[in-house]
C-alpha cells in the first residue's frame, strides 16, 4: 500500500521505515504524503503504543530530493503544501516517537529527526544542517525544534556552519538519547520502543502536550493546562492500575487506556 515507506507493527511498536535506499531516503512528494498517512494510521490504531521512524539502507534521510528542485520552484509553496502537513502531523502525534537515526540525517531529514521525541543514533550516524551549503535556511520546523533541544548558541553554530555532527558529538550536545553499536542496533531500538509501549500512553501524550505548552504559554495559562492534563490522566485506567500496583507492591501493567 505504501511505495516510498514501509509500515510494520512489531508488538505494539510501529516501524515507519523510509524506503528509498538508493536515494538515501530523500523526500519526494509521495513520501511526504505516505508519512502523513502512516502517522494517521498509527495514531488511530490502539495496538500501536510507540512509533519508530528509521531509514532503509545506509542513510536515515538525506532531505529533499534535489533531483526535483527546479529554477521555477516556489520553495515556500513546497514547504506549505508538502512539508507543513507532515511536520504538523508529527507535532500533533500523541504517542511516543523515536527517530532511530541509522545513518546520515541531512537537511529536512535532520528536521524529521528533530521533530521526534527521542533520537537514538547508530554509532556511524550523523546529522548535518546541509541547507546553508545550497544557500537556503533550515526548514521543515528545523529551527523551531533545534534551539529548544540544544540551545540558541549551538543551534546557530550548527545551522550556519553546516558541519557534520557525529553521533558521539550529537550525544554530547544532548541531541540524542543514546549512541548504539551496529551489532545490537535493531534489538536496542526495538526494546527502547517496547519499553515506551508498555508505559501509560495517555500520560506520555499529555507530557508531550505540556512541554509544548510550556514553550509559549504564560505561567498562569500553563498551570491551567497542567490542571486539564492531570484531570485527564486522573481518569485513565492506567492511573488506577498504577495506584493499585503501588499499594499491592507489584509492578504495574499499563494498557494505554
Amino acid at each position: 500500500m505504501y511505495e516510498t515507506i514501509r509500515y510494520e507493527i512489531r508488538d505494539n511498536v510501529a516501524w515507519l521505515i523510509l524506503n528509498r535506499p538508493d536515494k538515501l531516503n530523500a523526500f519526494t512528494e509521495q513520501m511526504n504524503k505516505e508519512i502523513v498517512a502512516a502517522l494517521k494510521q498509527a495514531a488511530s490504531d490502539e495496538n500501536v503504543r510507540s512509533l519508530i521512524i528509521t531509514g532503509e539502507g545506509r542513510a536515515f534521510c538525506s532531505g529533499e530530493d534535489l533531483a526535483g528542485v527546479t529554477e521555477e520552484m516556489d520553495h515556500g509553496e513546497v514547504l506549505r503544501t508538502r512539508y507543513a502537513p507532515m511536520m504538523k502531523a508529527l507535532h500533533r502525534f500523541e504517542k511516543p516517537v523515536i527517530a532511530a537515526v541509522n545513518g546520515v540525517a541531512a537537511g529536512a531529514g535532520m528536521s524529521l529527526a528533530l521533530a521526534c521525541d527521542f533520537r537514538l543514533a547508530l554509532e556511524k550516524a550523523s546529522f548535518i544542517e546541509a541547507f546553508i551549503h545550497v544557500g537556503l535556511v533550515p526548514d521543515a520546523g528545523n529551527l523551531y525544534y533545534l534551539p529548544r533541544l540544544i540551545g540558541h548558541a549551538k543551534a546557530l553554530e550548527l545551522a550556519v556552519l553546516g558541519e557534520k555532527v557525529t553521533a558521539q558529538k550529537a550525544y554530547e550536545l544532548g541531541l540524542v538519547t543514546a549512541v548504539i553499536p551496529q551489532d545490537t542496533w535493531e534489538e536496542e531500538v526495538q526494546s527502547f520502543a517496547a519499553r515506551l509501549a508498555g508505559m501509560p500512553t495517555k500520560a506520555i501524550g499529555l507530557i508531550k502536550r505540556l512541554l509544548r505548552e510550556s514553550d509559549h504559554r504564560s505561567f498562569e495559562d500553563y498551570l491551567e493546562k497542567e490542571a486539564y492534563s492531570q484531570r485527564i490522566a486522573g481518569l485513565t485506567e492506567d492511573h488506577r492500575e498504577g495506584v493499585r500496583a503501588f499499594f499491592e507492591k507489584r509492578p504495574a501493567v499499563f494498557k494505554g487506556k
Binding site: 502536550r209 493546562k225 486539564y228 492534563s229 484531570r231 485527564i232 481518569l235
Partner: protein, 258 residues
C-alpha cells in the same frame, strides 16, 4: 423529551444539554434537526427548572454544514415559500443563556448554529469555517451578519470569501470563542461554566443577556435607555432585595429567580 429523531436532550441540575445526534453525517443540519433544536430550546426556555442551555454535537464533530442533498434542487420560490430560516429567528428569541461546546468542526450551518448561541467553548482541535462560497452560494442563516458583528467587516470578509477553516486558537483571538479547552474535557468544562452561570440570579442573567444583545443592534442612546429599563425592572424582583440584604448583612445571597 424523547420524541426527537435527530437530537438527544437531558438535564443535569439546572443545565439542559441538547446534543446533535446524527454522528454518521457529522451532524449535518437538515431542516427537521433545526426544528428539533429550536423546539427543545423553547421548551427549556419555559421550563423553570432549567437556567442554562448547552448545545453540543455527538460523534466526531459539532456540526457539518447544512444537508446539501436536501437543498440541491431548491429554487428561489420553493425556498421563499418554505421560509426555513424562520426557525433560526426563533433561536434568537431564547431568553436563557445558551452555550455551544464545539469540537471537531463547525462548518457552514454548523458554524451559524454555534454563532447563534450566546457563548462558545471550543476544543483545541476544533475548526470553524464558512465553506459555502466553495459551492457557489453563501451563508443563509446569519453567517454574514453574526460573524461580522463579532469580528468586524475586514476579518469577516476574509473568512467568508476564502471559505478557509479557522483554528480554535484563531477563533479565540478574534473573540468568537470564550474558552479553548483540551478536547477530552470540553463538555466537562463547558458544564462547569454553565453550572456556575446557573447559580447566578436568573433574572439578572436574563435581562443582562437581553441588554447585551440590544447593544449589538441598537444605537448607543437607545441601548442605554433599554439597559436602564431592565435595571429598574430588576428592582421589582425578590432576588434584588435578597441580594442587597445579603450584601448588607455580609452573608451569601440565596437567589430564587423571582
Amino acid at each position: 423529551m424523547s420524541e426527537f429523531a435527530h437530537i438527544d436532550t437531558r438535564t443535569e441540575g439546572a443545565v439542559a444539554v441538547i446534543e446533535l445526534n446524527r454522528p454518521h453525517v457529522f451532524n449535518a443540519l437538515n431542516r427537521q434537526m433545526v426544528t428539533e433544536i429550536v423546539t427543545a430550546m423553547e421548551a427549556y426556555d419555559r421550563n423553570d427548572d432549567v437556567r442554562v442551555i448547552v448545545l453540543a454535537g455527538k460523534g466526531r464533530a459539532f456540526a457539518a454544514g447544512a444537508d446539501i442533498d436536501e437543498m440541491a434542487n431548491d429554487d428561489p420560490i420553493t425556498l421563499e415559500l418554505l421560509n426555513q430560516f424562520a426557525e433560526w429567528d426563533r433561536m434568537a428569541l431564547i431568553k436563557k443563556p445558551t452555550i455551544a461546546a464545539v469540537h471537531g468542526f463547525a462548518l457552514g450551518g454548523g458554524f451559524e448554529l454555534a454563532l447563534s448561541c450566546d457563548l462558545l467553548f471550543a476544543a483545541e482541535t476544533a475548526e470553524f469555517g464558512f465553506p459555502e462560497v466553495n459551492i457557489g452560494v453563501m451563508p443563509g442563516a446569519g453567517g454574514t451578519q453574526r460573524l461580522t458583528k463579532l469580528i468586524g467587516k475586514t476579518k469577516a470578509l476574509e473568512w467568508l470569501w476564502t471559505g478557509e477553516r479557522m483554528s480554535a486558537a484563531t477563533a479565540y483571538e478574534l473573540g468568537i470563542v470564550n474558552r479553548v479547552v483540551v478536547p477530552e474535557l470540553l463538555l466537562e468544562e463547558t458544564m462547569k461554566f454553565a453550572q456556575k452561570i446557573a447559580k447566578q440570579p436568573p433574572l439578572s442573567i436574563r435581562l443582562i443577556k437581553e441588554a447585551v444583545h440590544k447593544a449589538v443592534d441598537y444605537p448607543l442612546y437607545e441601548g442605554m435607555q433599554f439597559e436602564r429599563k431592565n435595571f429598574y425592572l430588576l428592582f421589582a424582583s425578590e432576588d434584588q432585595k435578597e441580594g442587597m440584604q445579603a450584601f448588607v448583612e455580609k452573608r451569601k445571597p440565596h437567589f430564587k429567580g423571582k
